[in-house]
Symmetry: C2
Subunit: 416 residues, 2 copies
């Protein structure tokens, strides 16, 4: 299916969008529903309009643009987001939206018609950097999150989602559920080091890891580091360190794709010669299989209790976040693999370690994702970078799968 991806056009658009909210050292800041986000929405919607696409915006600001198909069918949606974290890069989310746009423009350029409509979409507040939770727009659109509750969510600046939508005029008229894709495809940077370290061009994403975030607060007794024998201590810090070491051991014993991260740790009173009376740490566990993730949680929680109890400390545990794993559509995943083979792109199947809009579509329609390499595995960082040829590979594969999925209408006199 000979569509020609115009890499220059793609790069130029990424660059233009990246100038909105540009940060001094590189990267950019376009928090959801901010003035910069509004400017970004206007730029991208302008491109949609120029192509003559049919533009829709729903009640939480999700925007999609449809190129009609030959048949009146639900569209194949190519989407992602254009909001960023406070110190974001140029590619996270943006690639999926501008890559989807590039696919549609290339299809138009090539004069190709499809049975299914093709749509490109961006969803409100995927990052969750201004308003929690993340993946808010796609979640509301697909019924995973409740509209009224989300409109009332208050951001880091004290403003609600509803007020922020109105402030930038991003609240549309399409109701929740208006977007009903026949399938959903999202091209994204990996945001991790796997593809680069294995010298691969494409990640075929089989699903999204389940996430379990737990905060442990250990309470012991502060005492003098010199005068208190070990046997008489109730050292909250020692328990925290042992729990962190146990989290590591769980990841080692369970093996990949189990990951475990202790990202936060603090001691009170935090003095060299005082046994800590309190320690707080967080453990982030992720796995693609819910039963395994539960087993990891069980071992962590039980061991933490034992460690605290053995030291004469008390343990409080708070769940900060918990998402079950999402499995993407196996047929669509296989189609991506086949497409990569046809295009001669080196690839592997892999789970996504981060959350994405695609997981909100997975319960409702066949959904899957394509990853391209992130240099150094770096993301949510102004130094986020993906090489132009990798960006182009991703968009070529997106086009390949999209056209197969949307059923190209063969020109008269030709056969498939």
């Amino acid at each position: 299916m000979n569509v020609h991806i115009n890499t220059e056009r793609l790069l130029s658009r990424i660059d233009q969008l990246g100038r909105i909210g540009a940060l001094p050292g590189g990267g950019c800041k376009r928090l959801a529903l901010s003035a910069e986000d509004a400017e970004g929405r206007a730029l991208v919607t302008g491109w949609f309009r120029t192509l003559g696409l049919e533009i829709h915006t729903d009640v939480i600001g999700n925007t999609w643009a449809i190129r009609r198909g030959r048949k009146h069918l639900p569209p194949l949606v190519l989407g992602s987001h254009i909001d960023t974290v406070a110190t974001g890069g140029l590619y996270d989310g943006v690639l999926g939206v501008l890559g989807g746009l590039e696919v549609i423009e290339s299809v138009i350029d090539a004069g190709i018609d499809t049975e299914y409509p093709l749509a490109v979409a961006f969803f409100t507040n995927e990052e969750g950097a201004r308003f929690a939770p993340d993946m808010m727009g796609s979640g509301v659109s697909q019924g995973g999150l409740e509209l009224g509750e989300m409109l009332g969510k208050v951001g880091i600046d004290g403003k609600s989602v509803g007020d922020a939508l109105d402030a930038i005029g991003a609240r549309g008229s399409e109701p929740v559920g208006a977007l009903t894709p026949s399938a959903y495809l999202e091209l994204h940077i990996e945001q991790g080091p796997v593809l680069e370290s294995e010298c691969l061009e494409i990640g075929v994403v089989t699903g999204v890891q389940g996430i379990s975030w737990t905060e442990f607060t250990i309470s012991g007794r502060s005492s003098h580091a010199g005068t208190t024998p070990m046997a008489l201590r109730r050292d909250a810090g020692a328990v925290a360190a042992a729990i962190a070491t146990e989290a590591r051991a769980i990841a080692r014993d369970f093996g990949p794709p189990q990951v475990a991260t202790v990202g936060r740790m603090s001691f009170t009173p935090d003095l060299v010669n005082v046994v800590p009376e309190q320690a707080v740490l967080t453990v982030d566990l992720r796995h693609t299989d819910e039963a395994t993730l539960k087993a990891a949680e069980k071992r962590l929680f039980e061991t933490a209790e034992e460690l605290a109890s053995a030291e004469g400390c008390t343990l409080a545990r708070q769940t900060l976040a918990r998402f079950e794993p999402v499995a993407f559509d196996t047929d669509l995943v296989d189609q991506i693999v086949s497409g990569a083979v046809r295009l001669g792109l080196s690839h592997r199947k892999m789970p996504s370690g981060a959350g994405h809009d695609a997981q909100m579509f997975a319960p409702n329609c066949p959904s899957a994702m394509i990853f391209v390499p992130s240099q150094g595995g770096i993301s949510h960082n102004i130094h986020e970078f993906t090489a132009p040829e990798d960006l182009a590979n991703g968009v070529r594969l997106l086009a390949e799968v999209a056209l197969e999925r949307a059923c190209v209408v063969q020109p008269e006199g030709q056969t498939a």
Copy 2:
């Protein structure tokens, strides 16, 4: 040797001194050479004067008061300090000074003469809470610290020791080395839980633990907690937790009196879902034997290097403090034990886990210490408390040993 310790008088003086710099919830704050310290010095020196003692103050503000002996011999010194930490209690240091004063007053009351002069002393800036290092006055007096260097030390408020001495008029005329005790005895609260937990009245202190403070800074690479496989991580936090756990293991494997404390711990960037790129922790190791302390350091440092290296992290190590252990005079220690036996006081020999002025005298004259229980092992805290009977027991034993050591002159017509 029938001297009568006046417990009411002792308690009253502790109370009066504790009102100077009193804190709202209890305890007090008399930082070294502060206005409160000046007021405390004046109160205590006034008591010295009332007893007709011969008062001396040296160039760094150490003050001692001598009751002449029958012979022109160096004095037996009963000393400690009256400065406190910012949230100090009523007993730390104060007991040794006011207990020494009570011994001398009781001896005077009893009309007893001694061959050796008896002296009571307080030393400048034992706590080190305003000016580092601690034990400054006793250190300068006994040659362990250099006067000029110490006078130039700048405190937490930007003022030098020399300026602070002059500001409160505490700089005296006696030169360094003017105080040359025949022996040095210090009564002090334990500041730890051992005596209370073993239901003992007296700790006979055999020496001061050696102290080794090390700060480790581990540098790794920050990465995404979801997208970075364990094998590709350089997790500074995991290394820090493993070093903390190793410190615990060293204390366990070496056994008492080895202690190990990780009092400070911090991660950067300290976010739930980001692998820490940097972690800083401190390890406080203490032991009464220098060779063992060195062995503990060696194991800690080598293991820390191995742990960092295995994770692909770099390790920087900084020594924050290092003091060799001090052994007190065995004859004097035995005299304290004998005195406790005569008085029917339950007791045990034990090392001091904290630093004290006595260790500065140990190289120059027979020195030792007597501990009394600290309720809950709590010290450097406004809730520091020692029961009146325990205070009195300590002073009775101090008098017992002091009179034996200073050689009571038997009244005519009596024999020993």
